[in-house]
Each structure stands twice: as structure tokens, then as C-alpha cells.
Amino acid sequence: MNYILLIFLFLFFPPSKSTVVKEKIKTLKYTSWTSLRISDASGITKAGNHFYIVNDKGGLYETDGMGKIIRYKAMGWDNEDICFANGKLYVVDESGRRILEVDTQTLKTVAEHVLQYAGARNLGLESLAYVADKHEFVAISEKQPSVMFILDEKFNVVNQFKINGFDDISGATFYNHKLYILSDEDHVVIKVNPDNLTPDDFTWEEKWNVPIYNPEGICFDEDGTMRIVSDQCRRIYVFPNPDQQ
């Protein structure tokens, strides 16, 4: 009788054969890395000649390309990602459930946009990117589940859907008419056509493995050089353009 129960439990949750198929993807090689003097760095973007990094401690740092700090401003509680759009910086505060609009000259917060999300405090919105071709923002929750929110420029939700196939989503950026999405626990980057940002059409054109522990933020230079920040390792990694590897 006791064994019948155990057999029942096995049958109730059988391993899915479809999950056993292993995907072969290319591993990107970084050309250099530098230690950051920023703990818990979780998002990076480029604006002009400078980079901007945010961290889980509510900090915004203006840096050079290798993470040397130029300016610092405290804002928010748990900043998880940052993007540059229309001359301003936009910072997503995960536990504050808001997007902060920041002036690049003064680093002052000029507006706050509240985005309600019911998930656990540290499983909220983790990624933020501006899709310039469509004049839309993309915000993605971390995991359980990873949900993509498409927002207009006034931060109204115009579409939303679950992203399946990844353990989590940790960062996003827009470059050369494509959206690049980063997964920390799967340590992969995917390239997505912005025309496919709908529930039924979402898929990716390319997928690369990035051999980094805890990658949380991603951005590109104009020449396609890719930078990824590792939160727990406090490092910034530099990769050549993934499309040319």
C-alpha cells in the first residue's frame, strides 16, 4: 500500500521527454574583464561617451567603458536595469515597483512611473530596454514567471505575455534594430526581432552562451562591442560583436 502511493507520485509528475532534448548553441568568448568598485551591479547602458551602471543598493553610477566611476547618485531602493531613451535615463526599481526618469546632465530624478506587479519583492521587474524603432519600452520580470510588458512612452501597458524556455531573465537592451535579452541562470543571450513581441510570435533569431557567473546587465557600443556586468562577481566583461563571432 505504501509503495502504491510513491508510484502514484512518480506518475503524477513524470519527467517530460521534450525537456531532455539538448540545444547546441555557440559560446561567446570575452576579450577582457575588469573588477568593478560597484557592488551588486545589475544593469548597464551607454549614453553618449559614458556608461551608466545601476545596482541593488539603489545607486546610479556614471562610468567609463571599463567601469571606472565618474559620478554617483543615490536613488531608488533596488535598481535592476537602466536604459537610455529620448535624452533621458530610465531606471527600473524592482522592489519599489517603479521606473525612475533621470536627467543625464544632473542625474536628478525628474519623474517616477509606478508599475504594479504582485510577485515577490526580489522577483519583480528585472530588465528594461527602449525599442527605439517602435517608440516602446520593454520591461521583463525576473522569474516564476518571466513576463514581458510592452509599454508605451507614457508607461501604459500595451501588451504582456510570459516568456517560456528560460529559468530567469536578468537584463535586456536594444541595439541595431534588435532586442537582446540576457538570462542569468541559463547564462545565455538571445536576439529577438521586435516585430515578434507578441504572445504567439515571440521567438529568437540567435542564441549564444555567455560563460559568466551571475550576468545581470547588458549593453552595446555603437560598433557592436557587447558589455555584460556580473552582479555577484563585481565585474564588467567585454565581448566582440556576437553577430560576427
Binding site: N2, L5, L6, L9, F12, F13, P15, S16, T19, V20, V21, K22, S39, K57, G58, W77, S95, G96, R97, R98, V114, Y117, A118, G119, A120, R121, L123, G124, Q144, P145, D167, D184, E185, H187, N209, P211, I212, Y213, N214, S230, Q232, C233, R234, R235
Partner: protein, 388 residues
């Protein structure tokens, strides 16, 4: 009681898929408030000795039914309250709950953290910073029972007091130091006649990432990640009570030392830990008698080695663990070895998973207080859900 457990398990099975998205955070100006918890319910089967006629331990059981409330005010203040309704059932059914020496099972944590740039303060009922295994949550472990040495036998896992801690980001070191009642989980039923605090300290280091209290390599680390820690405790209590061997607190002086290390790489994770207690009881001379000789102190302690493998394509964790516990060094060959095997099927990582674990206790030489062998070999299967 069996009917209650059966009802709980069946209810959990039916509603688990719905609960798996039950995560709540409320935000109000500079405050956040979060509701979470976990449920672990399943069945236990024991491999009894042949002469056994009582099979009451073969039963459905509710391992955990925890509710946690946590909040944050700005970046300076955090507060946590965690209770376990599974433990509440134990407290209700335990007739000795109000008597000195009995441990509370309902309240798991209730504390406030105040953060400053120099040091953080954690005040209230909390886990004492001692070893990796003593601080980790059971739901994070692929196994369903803690190793004996890390299960409230030589040092309390929780106590009422204050902890100071600080993370040094450049070196990757975190340091903890605190003072506590010394009564551990018996603090709400038992006063400490000596009035002397118990002191605990721990230093932990990790490279290249930060220290994390995880058993499983959920990130399938592309580079090896190494973690280690050392801890120590000193107590001078006036009561000998608590724990499976009745010396969680000792009426005398007690020193406890421990060290642990972990490695994570490509889905594999290895944890090793050693903990040792030396006690000099004043009012419990029976603890000092070993094979007819009276000694001035005695030692207890043990070792843990655990190897886990996360196979993401199969959504599975395979784990094996060996642990040894010596309840006293005053009797030759007095130790218990346990070899455990576990399989976890992760429907949604450990947020929703099925866990099966088998424990084989061998070299059992120490009888329990009622004169029987301490533990039977057992096979357990549970379903676990986290909603935080």
C-alpha cells in the same frame, strides 16, 4: 490525526499548481511589505527491525506549513516574522510544551534589521550565525532531514538576541558576531539561571561570487565558485536540556567550533562541514561518566559531506550525503553514521518540486533515552511549494 495529514496532503496536491504563482508584495511610498511561505507535505515509510509491532511512524506528515511576513522601510530598516503551522501542531500535541526545556516549533523567526554604512544590526528571535547547515533552509536542501550534528543537538539553530554583521565587498568576506540568551529554541519556556549571554561569531568568504546559502548549483556555474566559513560559540548556561540528546544547553561551560566549505560548478555542488562541541557541565554529572570513569568534560560533534548534481534537461537533482555524529566521546565507538540518497523532480525549480529521500542509519551504537535504537532507516516523499 492521520486524517488531518491526509487531508492536508490531498489538498496540497490539488491546489499546488494554483498556488505556485501566489506571491504578493505591497508597496506604499517608502515601504514594501511581502507575504510568502512554503508548504512541505508527504509520506514517511520506516524500515523497522523485525520484532517491531508498532508501525505508527508510517504515516502522512506535514513537514512545514510556513507563513512569512517581511517588510522594508527605505534602505535602513527591514523586519521579518516567520511562523510554521506544522510546528504549531507539534506544539499543541506536545504535552510538555509549557515545561522548562521544551522547544517552540511555531515561531521560526521574528527580527528587525537596522542597516548603517559601518555595521548592520539584527535584533530579535533569529538564526544564530554558526555553520552553513545550521543556517540553511530545509526547502533549499534536496534531503528531507537535517544531518544530526546540524539539527539542534550541539548548538541552537535559533535564539533571542542581537547580531552585528558587515559585508566587505572588496575581499568578499562577511563577518557576524552576536550575543544571545543561551537558551536557544527553549528561550520562551526556560530562563537562563546564570543570566550569561551566549556569544557566537562567524566569518565567511566566497570567490569569485558572493556567499550564498544554497545547496544546489541552480546557475550551473560556468566557472567554479568556492565558499567557506568558520564559526564559534561560547555559552555558560544553568540548564541541561533540549535537542535529541538533551544537551542543547548545558549547565556549565560550552564551546562549539565549526568549519564548512562548498564548491559549485556546472550543476555539481559539494558541501563539507565539521562541528565540534566541548562541554564542562557543573550540575549534570551523568554526562561526564564514560565506561565507569568520571571525566571533567566531554565532546560531541560530527561531519557532513554532501554531493548534489542538478541535471537541468531532466529537471532533476540527484544527491548523496554522508554524515557522522558522535554524541559523546566518553564511550568508545559511540557514533552514528547515516548515508542518505535523494532525488528531486523540479517542476519549477524548488518553487514546486517532488522530493524523495532515503536515509540509511548504520553503526548505531547509542540508544535513545527510552533504550531503543535512535532512528529507523526511512524513505520519505514530499511535495514542496514556495510562495515567496
Amino acid at each position: 490525526m492521520k486524517r488531518i495529514y491526509l487531508f492536508a496532503v490531498l489538498t496540497a496536491i490539488i491546489f499546488l499548481p494554483l498556488l505556485s504563482h501566489a506571491q504578493f508584495t505591497l508597496v506604499k511610498n517608502d515601504q514594501t511589505f511581502e507575504i510568502g511561505g512554503d508548504i512541505m507535505a508527504g509520506y514517511e515509510y520506516n524500515f523497522y527491525p523485525q520484532a517491531t509491532g508498532n508501525y505508527h511512524k508510517d504515516a502522512f506528515y506535514l513537514d512545514e506549513a510556513r507563513l512569512s511576513l517581511q517588510g522594508r522601510i527605505n534602505l535602513q530598516l527591514e523586519y521579518y516574522v516567520r511562523v510554521d503551522f506544522g510546528g504549531l501542531i507539534e506544539d499543541f500535541t506536545d504535552e510538555t510544551f509549557t515545561t522548562p526545556g521544551s522547544e517552540i516549533n511555531f515561531l521560526k523567526e521574528a527580527y528587525i534589521i537596522y542597516k548603517t554604512n559601518i555595521v548592520n544590526f539584527k535584533v530579535g528571535y533569529q538564526k544564530t550565525p554558526f555553520s552553513f547547515n545550521s543556517q540553511c533552509e530545509e526547502y533549499a536542501d534536496p534531503f528531507l532531514q537535517r544531518p544530526i550534528v546540524a539539527d539542534d543537538n550541539i548548538t541552537p539553530r535559533r535564539d533571542l538576541g542581537v547580531t552585528l554583521f558587515h559585508f566587505f565587498p572588496t575581499s568578499g568576506i562577511t563577518a557576524f558576531a552576536g550575543a544571545y540568551s543561551g537558551m536557544g529554541e527553549t528561550v520562551f519556556s526556560t530562563d537562563n539561571p546564570t543570566g550569561t549571554p551566549e556569544y557566537a561569531a562567524r566569518v565567511e568568504w566566497a570567490y569569485p561570487a558572493k556567499y550564498q546559502r544554497e545547496f544546489i548549483d541552480w546557475r550551473t556555474s560556468p566557472v567554479p565558485v568556492f565558499e567557506c566559513g568558520i564559526g564559534g560559540e561560547h555559552a555558560f548556561d544553568g540548564v541541561t536540556a533540549g535537542g535529541g540528546y538533551n544537551y542543547l544547553t548545558v549547565d556549565g561551560t560550552k564551546w562549539v567550533y565549526g568549519a564548512d566549505a562548498s564548491v559549485f560548478y556546472k550543476g555539481f555542488s559539494l558541501q563539507v562541514e565539521a562541528d565540534q562541541m566541548q562541554a564542562t557541565p557543573i550540575g549534570s554529572p551523568q554526562l561526564l561518566i564514560g565506561e565507569g570513569t568520571v571525566y571533567s568534560n566531554f565532546k560531541a560533534g560530527g561531519y557532513i559531506v554532501e554531493l548534489n548534481y542538478l541535471c537541468k534537461p531532466l529537471k532533476s537533482v540527484f544527491a548523496v550525503r554522508w554524515d557522522q555524529y558522535t554524541p559523546t566521546n566518553l564511550a568508545y565507538g559511540n557514533y552514528e553514521n547515516t548515508l542518505s540518497f535523494a532525488y528531486n523532480y523540479n517542476i519549477k525549480q524548488n518553487f514546486l518540486c517532488l522530493k524523495i529521500a532515503y536515509e540509511d542509519h548504520f553503526n548505531q551504537t547509542y540508544p535513545a533515552p527510552n533504550g531503543t535504537i535512535w532512528k529507523d532507516d526511512d524513505l520519505r516523499a514530499i511535495i514542496q511549494i514556495l510562495f515567496n
